[in-house]
């Protein structure tokens, strides 16, 4: 019944507006005006709104920078991430300049040259010099952007240091599994046809390199200032390993292995002490408290950033950056029980 009344109300409103418009049109035609004609008054009003708009727009942008700016990702926690942040700010500097200048010109001209009855536009069909200026200057600026961009890109995608730690990240709907390459720093072979309930990654038990591999769920521990080389595999669909705090991302594609390497520079503990992070977390925890959720501490995170199914929005893994000593302590707890050294652990597995 209520739905029916809502429909009736909507229909009546539309009809009412229709008649109102009709009345206005008839009234203006009685006064001898054509309602569709654009008058000088209209032009002046729209010109002024154009000017007001651009001022309001700039204020809106400044407000956003002030109110949202401090809630963006904190400083990059990786070596190349710092380079990327610098490049981003450099490019943004150029873009803000162009954005502000073009918008001032566009809307100011719209205001200044609003149509007047006794006015006539200036016939100005082209000007080779002007056109040359705004072809060449953007070309030079873009050349600078391209050169810096490709330089940084080449740094980031260069071959990893052979001494970097090798870790496999294995993606499936909807979680991440890490496999540490062990003492030999080489991952064992695997094949998707070997996947069973107890062999989640399809590891090949005949592969010597795989004997010392350590499989870890839920948490990814890495050592500060030590380069990590990730190798990504996916079991089912495309996922994307996204490490926002380290400014790193790589797709995980079934049927192939993709790679990415970076060097974390700030431990989780250090990051928690950064003033900007403390401020962010205070804001977050105030919101969580109001909502009745428990407070949280800052954590690095790995997210899936390629649509992968219905629970895509909750495919994550905590990343912990720690000192070498802390890492070794943690790694010990992940070793097979009663075995102190990984080599012996490998031997035992081989013996079985």
């Amino acid at each position: 019944m209520i739905k029916f009344l809502v429909y009736v109300a909507i229909i009546l409103t539309v009809l009412a507006v229709g008649y109102l418009v009709r009345v206005f049109e008839l009234a203006s035609s009685l006064k001898g005006k054509r309602s569709e004609e654009i008058t000088e008054k209209d032009n002046r009003l729209m010109g002024r709104i154009m000017l007001a708009f651009v001022v309001a727009f700039f204020l809106f942008v400044i407000w956003q920078l002030k109110s949202y700016g401090w809630r963006m990702l904190p400083e990059a926690a990786s070596v190349h991430g710092k380079e990327l942040d610098w490049l981003f700010n450099f490019n943004m500097g150029i873009l803000w300049f162009v954005f502000v200048i073009t918008h001032i010109l566009l809307f100011y001209f719209a205001y200044k040259y609003y149509g007047r009855k006794d006015n006539r536009a200036t016939y100005f069909p082209h000007d080779n010099r002007l056109e040359m200026i705004w072809t060449v200057i953007p070309a030079i600026v873009l050349a600078v952007i391209v050169i810096y961009g490709i330089k940084t890109w080449n740094h980031i995608t260069a071959v990893a240091d052979p001494n970097s730690q090798v870790i496999e990240l294995y993606a499936k709907q909807f979680d991440w599994t890490a496999r540490y390459a062990g003492v030999d720093n080489t991952l064992g072979a695997s094949n998707y046809k070997l996947i069973t309930g107890t062999n989640d990654l399809g590891m090949d038990s005949t592969s010597q390199a795989g004997k010392d591999d350590i499989i870890v769920k839920n948490e990814l521990h890495i050592v500060v200032n030590r380069e990590v080389e990730f190798k990504f595999r996916s079991r089912d669909v495309i996922h994307s390993a996204y490490f926002p705090h380290f400014r790193a991302q790589m797709n995980c594609v079934p049927g192939m292995t993709t790679m990415l390497h970076f060097t974390p520079t700030i431990t989780t503990a250090e990051m928690r002490k950064k003033p900007e992070v403390i401020a962010q977390m205070a804001g977050i925890n105030a919101i969580r408290k109001a909502r009745g959720d428990k407070p949280e501490e800052f954590n690095y995170i790995l997210l899936c950033n390629k649509i992968c199914g219905n629970s895509h929005y909750n495919m994550q893994m905590q990343v912990i950056v720690e000192t070498e000593a802390e890492y070794n302590e943690w790694m010990k707890s992940k070793m097979p029980k009663k075995e102190a050294a990984p080599k012996e652990a490998a031997k035992e597995v081989a013996g079985n």
Partner: protein, 608 residues
């Protein structure tokens, strides 16, 4: 000039042909006049009305998922009312349906509204009118083009009525997700519907595109050389070429996907274990699909934006009462953008593990596009300079387009930089970028076209005041929705997340999403004003005079009636370029293209 002779010759042929037509079409039935019509004007209106309806559906979809993003797990009667208990139980959007909504919203907007709707409406309306032709080269293929488009739209919407729901792998439908029914419900029957719909769409697009190209090349009236064409026609021409060259590649991508889904092939599949079993397929590559898809996908965004830019060029020039600044540079830019759009597709794939050197090449080619784009933007601004601007609603939308094209284009420079793309790829920064530069700009351009050519299409005017209110609400809310999204992206929020509540680090961004949704609702309500104005004015709006905007182009020399064959007598003869506005020495501030050059007068904005 050989080109003029050429145009004259063909036009002569079409004239005779037309005479033949007239005899047969004296008593048209309702069906042949309004439904299976072969007249370009009727087909144009059919495209427009279908696109308006599809855009309304797509907008309602966006409202549904915006509610979820701003107020996750809140109960909304609206959601339950539209989606029912299955997908909107207790007014909460079901996660699978969320994915389906973003997927179909994207597909409908990109293909049905901004490709089919925009090109279909205005290429059909303006090509014959502005080049001085009686109709399209093939009226029959043109009719088929519309009906395939209709079929495609119908199949896409029908997928909401199947049990497992519509396709839900994102509008790019990357396999293996879209290839494996085990991966999600949306990859079952809904995905088949999506592929069928797109197949029909591609047929429609090719039939239309071939027709546009042939018509522009062959049916220009006497005197209408290529360098006397309005920029609208140049834009439609290059757009049609892009479509004809790139849509077949999408069809091949879709076809291989159909094979993988239904016939056990492994073009895109390899080494997959899903649903407790290892699949047989090996040797394929999901990345192959991405190459094929984006080989269409990138020209596609120019297929969307070029017609909008073409319409804007015309509208800005007419209403600033000035020639478009740098006519030949504008043509050059359109061609440069068209060409470059074929060699930049890899910038969508920087983080798929592609060869870094290849990545560098795509960075270079992509950033090259910024140069012709910058030329266009500066030329628009210079056209306004020292103009005598008449703010019709169409003009407002055109100026709005210039603004969004600049602000969206600038963030493209960040995303085109492969290194900078790494941390913001697939985040809301991308969503903000492409919505502003392509979505909002093209919609503003399309609306500008609707307001400007409404008198030609429906012989009446739309209400000016409602148009003003519609523009300002739309423009303000477009920026209100999409500008803050940059910040979400820089905070690391991925796109296509049903909810951000699983991540404490995103908890302090809820207010941004609330603001965005409020602007989205405002923008949505503003479109009701448009819909009302559109349909009301179609029947009740004040009747228009023959050339209400005092424009130079040929469509305004036709009588205000939907005459079959456009000009009752002989076809008009063209003597000058279309942008002689406020030319010194002329009394009126416009000189239609049909007015012969005076003694010693230089044509085409030549030096003075």
């Amino acid at each position: 000039m050989s080109m003029e002779n050429h145009g004259h010759h063909d036009n002569h042929g079409s004239h005779e042909h037309q005479g033949h037509h007239d005899e047969h079409h004296h008593e048209e039935s309702f069906v042949s006049k309004y439904i299976f019509s072969m007249d370009h004007k009727t087909i144009s209106r059919q495209f427009l009305v279908t696109a308006v309806i599809m855009a309304t559906f797509a907008m309602i979809m966006s409202m549904l998922f915006r509610l979820q993003l701003a107020w996750p797990n809140e109960h909304f009667g609206f959601i339950n009312w539209i989606l029912g208990d299955k997908w909107g139980k207790d007014g909460i959007l079901e996660p699978g349906m969320y994915m389906a909504l973003v997927t179909i919203h994207g597909t409908v907007m990109v293909f049905m509204v901004l490709t089919g709707g925009l090109s279909g409406t205005f290429s059909n309306l303006l090509i014959p009118y502005q080049i001085g032709a009686r109709d399209m080269a093939s009226g029959f293929l043109n009719m088929l083009s519309y009906w395939f488009f209709f079929l495609s739209s119908a199949i896409m919407m029908a997928s909401f009525f199947i049990e497992t729901g519509p396709a839900s792998g994102g509008w790019t439908v990357y396999p293996p997700l879209s290839a494996l029914p085990q991966a999600m419900d949306g990859s079952k029957l809904g995905m088949t519907f999506w592929l069928l719909s797109m197949t029909a769409f591609i047929v429609s697009s090719l039939l239309g595109g071939l027709n546009y190209i042939i018509t522009i090349i062959n049916l220009r009236t006497k005197g209408m050389s290529m360098t006397r064409l309005p920029l609208t026609i140049w834009a439609f021409f290059v757009t049609a070429i892009l479509g004809v060259l790139s849509f077949p590649v999408l069809l091949s991508a879709a076809l291989l996907l159909i094979f993988d889904r239904s016939f056990g092939t492994s073009f895109y599949l390899s080494d997959i274990y899903i649903g407790g079993q290892a699949l047989e397929q090996t040797g394929g590559s999901p990345i192959l699909y991405q190459h094929l898809f984006w080989f269409l996908g990138h020209p596609e965004v120019y297929i969307i934006i070029l017609p909008a830019l073409g319409l804007t060029s015309e509208i800005i020039s007419v209403n600033a009462r000035k020639p478009i600044f740098g006519y030949r540079a504008m043509i050059g830019s359109i061609m440069a953008i068209g060409f470059l759009s074929f060699i930049v597709w890899g910038h969508h794939m920087f983080i798929t593990g592609m060869n870094p050197f290849l990545g560098s090449v795509f960075v270079f080619t992509t950033l090259l596009i910024a140069i012709p784009s910058a030329v266009k933007a500066f030329n628009y601004i210079t056209t306004l300079w020292k103009g005598n601007i008449r703010f019709t609603p169409g003009m407002l939308f055109a100026i709005g387009l210039v603004s969004t094209f600049i602000s969206g284009g600038l963030t493209g420079i960040i995303l085109a930089d492969s290194a900078l793309d790494i941390p913001i790829h697939d985040t809301y920064f991308v969503v903000a970028h492409f919505h502003i530069v392509m979505g909002v700009s093209a919609i503003l351009g399309m609306l500008a076209g609707v307001y400007h050519w409404f008198p030609k299409m429906f012989l009446r005017h739309m209400n000016k005041k409602l148009g003003y209110v519609h523009f300002w609400l739309t423009f303000v809310s477009a920026y209100g929705v999409f500008f803050p999204m940059h910040f979400l992206g820089l905070a690391g929020v991925p796109r296509r997340y049903y909810s951000n509540t699983a991540f404490p680090m995103f908890d302090n961004l809820v207010d941004i999403n609330v603001l965005i949704t409020c602007f989205a609702i405002l923008g949505g309500l503003a479109q009701i004003i448009f819909l009302f104005n559109f349909f009301y004015s179609m029947f009740r709006g004040p009747k228009s005079t023959q050339n209400p905007w005092h424009a130079n182009t040929l469509e305004w020399t036709t009588p205000m009636a939907n005459t079959h064959g456009n000009w009752p007598g002989a076809l008009p003869v063209v003597h000058r370029w279309p942008y002689d506005y406020s030319k010194p020495g002329k009394e009126a501030d416009y000189v239609p293209q049909t007015v012969p050059l005076a003694e010693g007068e230089v044509d085409g904005g030549g030096h003075h």
